[in-house]
């Protein structure tokens, strides 16, 4: 390999944003406690032996195994030495052993775990089987065996625990590394011809680093318990040295006379263990590995004038007025849906189009009461078949009234974009379809199953009775989506909301699903609210189209008007023009919308 000049250094943007996250995590209550504990522990480990080391050595033969007193807060040991002084000066050896052992374990583990990414396949297989065997042993047992082989003493204990911890870290590094190595950016680097070693150091390691650091920090606590445990057993630190484990062992002899030393030592071990765990937790939050949602209430913004619907329907199946969705983002809130009002008439097919981030999916999930805390859904009215879904100006996923929940379950159906993730892979398809009947249809198990088979047949699943016993992975994408629709048809839905139901499917399968939806609408009179980014598809299928842009409905027009080029809002017109179509002149430039284009979020005037 030729030596390459150093890469262009990463710009400060990356490090400053992660530094910012660390600072935020450190300022949280957890972070403050963790840093205080850590600083205390470091100070004790550094200065403990210096300050109390001499006192700890003084053996007062007139004061053997004394109970706590003013001079000896934790009493004295069998040799007449002050227990507290010994405990404090033993901090260093106990903590250093644990940290070193962890460092050995992590280093060894990462080397072993990431070896398969760079080494030939057979090496990977050998490493894997060794790891498998090593993982089968409890690590403390492994440590005991190793320390007996290597010999007793503080060095061997550190080594033993490090070695015993390595397999677990190797497996962790391997799993993380494998998932990073499967990413497209690693493929891209391979296509460029970047060497395996550089891929490892540049793309794999940085992307597995954070979880490893967090695990190592928590693992240091485990190492501390293990090393004190080994010393307690007499395998670790030997006289005249002493750590918390050995002291604990010695204190046990006098526990019925004087319990204070044992309690003090236990407290010290717990203190150090908790410190490591909290530091790990703080780092995890700083790296965003388990961010706890912060719930800060925000006053409802000055209630602007209610957005009037552009098209009012008499006796609608769904009536929505001034729907707003707020999502916590960073320190504040984002408003992906800001004041949406519309009606869906009985038996109507209404399309909602817009680009990613326009709020179209959130709008539909909000009216179906599917959005959960910490997302906030506010509306002045959401009426489904005359039933009010808002309570106190909010739509909550926790519907308090059993009647309303039942009505939603039986009369409103929801079909999601990706049928691969909306079906439970562990249950038969038929069971999942039947469940709707059990929950909302008031059916018993047998009749629910019979109806499920009937519904699967209705959505053209061949051999429905038999295919009901199949698992989702045995269905193709199109069949899974039909099964989802069958689920929606278990009740007698007045409204079926379909959120990008064909985006994950091929065009030929898309057509089947669309004609099935059209049939449901025609035969059952079920109203459809159809969400899609594909304005051509929407116009070919719906009667009326709502165009969403930046969280607002900017136009409400019939599909016929849309198709005939009678759209009035500039955004709608730009969208229509941007669709590539089969009649375009080959070789010509594609129509574009400038990236920084700003369209008015004001809707064009009412049509009706």
């Amino acid at each position: 390999m030729t030596t390459l000049p150093p890469p262009i250094p990463a710009a400060p943007a990356a490090s400053s944003s992660s530094r910012h996250a660390l600072v935020t995590a450190l300022r949280s209550p957890l972070g403050i406690v963790a840093s205080l504990l850590l600083v205390t522990l470091i100070l004790l480990a550094t200065f403990g032996p210096v300050i109390w080391g001499e006192t700890a050595k003084v053996a007062d033969l007139t004061q053997l195994s004394m109970a706590p007193s003013a001079a000896h807060p934790l009493g004295t040991d069998a040799g007449g030495r002050d227990v507290l002084a010994r405990l404090l000066s033993a901090t260093r050896i106990s903590v250093v052993t644990a940290v070193l052992a962890t460092a050995i374990g992590v280093t060894l583990g990462v080397l072993l775990g990431l070896l398969p990414t760079v080494a030939p396949n057979w090496v990977a297989r050998v490493v894997n089987s060794i790891l498998g065997v090593a993982l089968a042993f409890p690590s403390l047992l492994l440590a005991i065996v190793v320390s007996i082989i290597v010999g007793v003493g503080v060095v061997s204990v550190t080594l033993a625990i490090g070695l015993a911890m390595a397999p677990a870290y190797a497996r962790l590094a391997q799993t993380l590394g494998a998932s990073a190595a499967g990413r497209d950016y690693v493929d891209a680097a391979r296509v460029l011809g970047v060497s395996r070693f550089r891929i490892l150091t540049r793309h794999v390691l940085p992307n597995v680093r954070d979880p490893l650091i967090v695990n190592a920090s928590i693992g240091a606590g485990t190492a501390l318990v293990a090393s004190t445990g080994l010393s307690f057993l007499g395998l670790g630190v030997q006289a005249p040295d002493y750590d918390w484990g050995r002291m604990l062992n010695e204190s046990l002899d006098g526990i019925f006379v004087n319990a204070a030393p044992t309690l003090g030592l236990s407290a010290a071990i717990v203190f150090a263990g908790v410190t490591f765990a909290l530091v790990g937790e703080t780092l995890a939050r700083a790296f965003g590995l388990n961010r706890s949602p912060r719930r800060q209430r925000r006053r409802r913004g000055a209630s602007n004038d209610e957005v009037a619907p552009l098209h009012v329907v008499d006796d609608p199946v769904l009536r929505v007025r001034d729907l707003q969705v707020r999502v916590p983002r960073g320190d504040g809130w984002a408003d992906p849906v800001r004041g949406v009002s519309f009606d869906v008439g009985r038996g109507e097919i209404v399309g909602v189009v817009g680009e990613s981030g326009s709020g179209k999916s959130l709008t539909c999930m909000a009216v179906a009461a599917l959005l959960e805390e910490p997302i906030e859904v506010a509306a002045s009215t959401v009426q489904f078949e005359g039933t009010e879904l808002t309570a106190g100006g909010r739509v909550s996923s926790r519907i308090s009234s059993a009647g309303v929940a039942h009505q939603l379950g039986a009369r409103m159906a929801f079909v999601l974009q990706d049928p691969a993730t909306s079906l439970n892979p562990a249950l038969h398809v038929g069971t999942q379809v039947a469940e709707v009947g059990l929950l909302h249809g008031g059916l018993d198990r047998k009749s629910a199953h019979r109806r499920a088979v009937d519904r699967l047949d209705a959505v053209r699943i061949p051999d429905a009775a038999q295919r009901a016993q199949a698992y989702p992975h045995e269905f193709s994408g199109g069949m899974r989506q039909r099964a989802m629709i069958a689920m929606g048809l278990m009740g007698e839905p007045a409204l079926l909301i379909a959120d990008e139901p064909t985006t994950a499917l091929d065009v030929t399968v898309q057509r089947e699903v669309m004609s099935l939806l059209a049939e449901v609408n025609e035969v059952k009179g079920t109203a459809l609210l159809f969400v899609s980014h594909d304005i051509a598809l929407v116009s070919s299928f719906c009667t009326r189209v709502l165009v969403m842009y930046r969280g607002a409905i900017v136009e409400d027009l019939t599909a016929a008007d849309l198709a005939a080029g009678r759209a009035r809002h500039p955004y709608t017109r730009a969208l229509v023009e941007a669709i590539p179509h089969l009649e375009a002149e080959p070789g010509t430039a594609f129509a574009t919308i400038a990236e920084d284009a700003e369209f008015p979020t004001e809707p064009v005037g009412s049509r009706s």
């Binding site: 400060p12 299928f541 969208l575």
Partner: protein, 270 residues
């Protein structure tokens, strides 16, 4: 000027009884400086072909010729020839390392492929030039992928591919993760660099309308085989194979109701 030729390429996943042939013998020529579309539905094997060409998954039979030299299982200088073929992936949010900023991602390609740029300064200038080629503000060199929009990310991915000084570009569904408003910009950019650098392009897509407007020729894949190929306007405007006809018919058109398809009740494997 580089020609890309596939001769009876077969790609197999797995081995033994679980073996599955994703590509079952495909022969295809992308003439020098041409843009050829490869269309088909998911599972047809079109992305597998792209991965085979760049060596991410070696074919188990057949030849892949870059300017007449077979690059399958190549070593040494022939392997380097394969790097003349670069690929742009479907989703730039996963094909760019989330921890590397724009400049570092592009510079990585320069380090490997442009030994003539000896120092950091020369590479930095080249990164800036490439960003201008893909119509991005060179001041964004320090941005992380997460700070860019989807279209900007894909343009960075194009810049990275260009940094490797390719002669053949494979574009694998490069706009399918993008909004329609951004799609046109990325496609126009692809055409611009193709023309300016006289690149040979294999454009993989499921979008027939895009392929028709962008590509001179098209090949249609189904179940690992080519069912039809030829000049784009001929194949798409007057398809001969029933499957191509079905594909064209299924494309949604503004305001035209989707043609009624009889739904087969019996033995439909889909």
């Amino acid at each position: 000027m580089t020609e890309l030729v596939l001769e009876d390429v077969r790609v197999r996943y797995g081995s033994g009884s679980s073996a599955h042939d994703a590509v079952k013998g495909v022969s295809l020529t992308v003439a020098s400086g041409r843009t050829v579309g490869l269309v088909g539905e998911s599972g047809s094997g079109k992305s597998t072909i792209a991965r085979a060409i760049v060596g991410l998954h070696e074919p188990h039979a057949g030849r892949i010729l870059v300017d007449g030299t077979d690059v399958v299982r190549a070593h040494g200088r022939t392997a380097v020839l394969r790097r003349d073929v670069q690929m742009i992936f479907q989703d730039a949010s996963s094909s760019l390392d989330p921890r590397m900023n724009v400049g570092a991602s592009i510079a990585e390609a320069l380090e490997v492929r442009r030994p003539d740029l000896k120092d950091v300064k020369a590479r930095r200038a080249e990164v800036a030039r490439l960003l201008e080629v893909v119509e991005l503000d060179p001041a964004r060199v320090g941005d992380l992928p997460s700070q860019l929009s989807g279209g900007q990310r894909q343009r960075v991915a194009i810049a990275r591919a260009l940094a490797a000084a390719p002669r053949v570009l494979l574009a694998d569904e490069i706009t399918s993760a993008l909004d329609v408003s951004v799609q046109g910009t990325v496609l126009n950019l692809l055409r611009k660099v193709q023309q300016e650098l006289d690149l040979t392009v294999l454009f993989i897509s499921h979008n027939l309308a895009v392929v028709r407007q962008l590509c001179e020729e098209v090949a249609v894949m189904k179940n690992g085989l080519l069912v039809e190929s030829g000049p784009t306007t001929r194949v798409i405007d007057a398809p001969e194979h029933p499957y191509t006809r079905e594909l064209v018919r299924a494309v949604p058109r503004l305001g035209v109701p989707l043609a009624e398809t009889p739904l087969s009740r019996s033995g439909d494997p889909r």
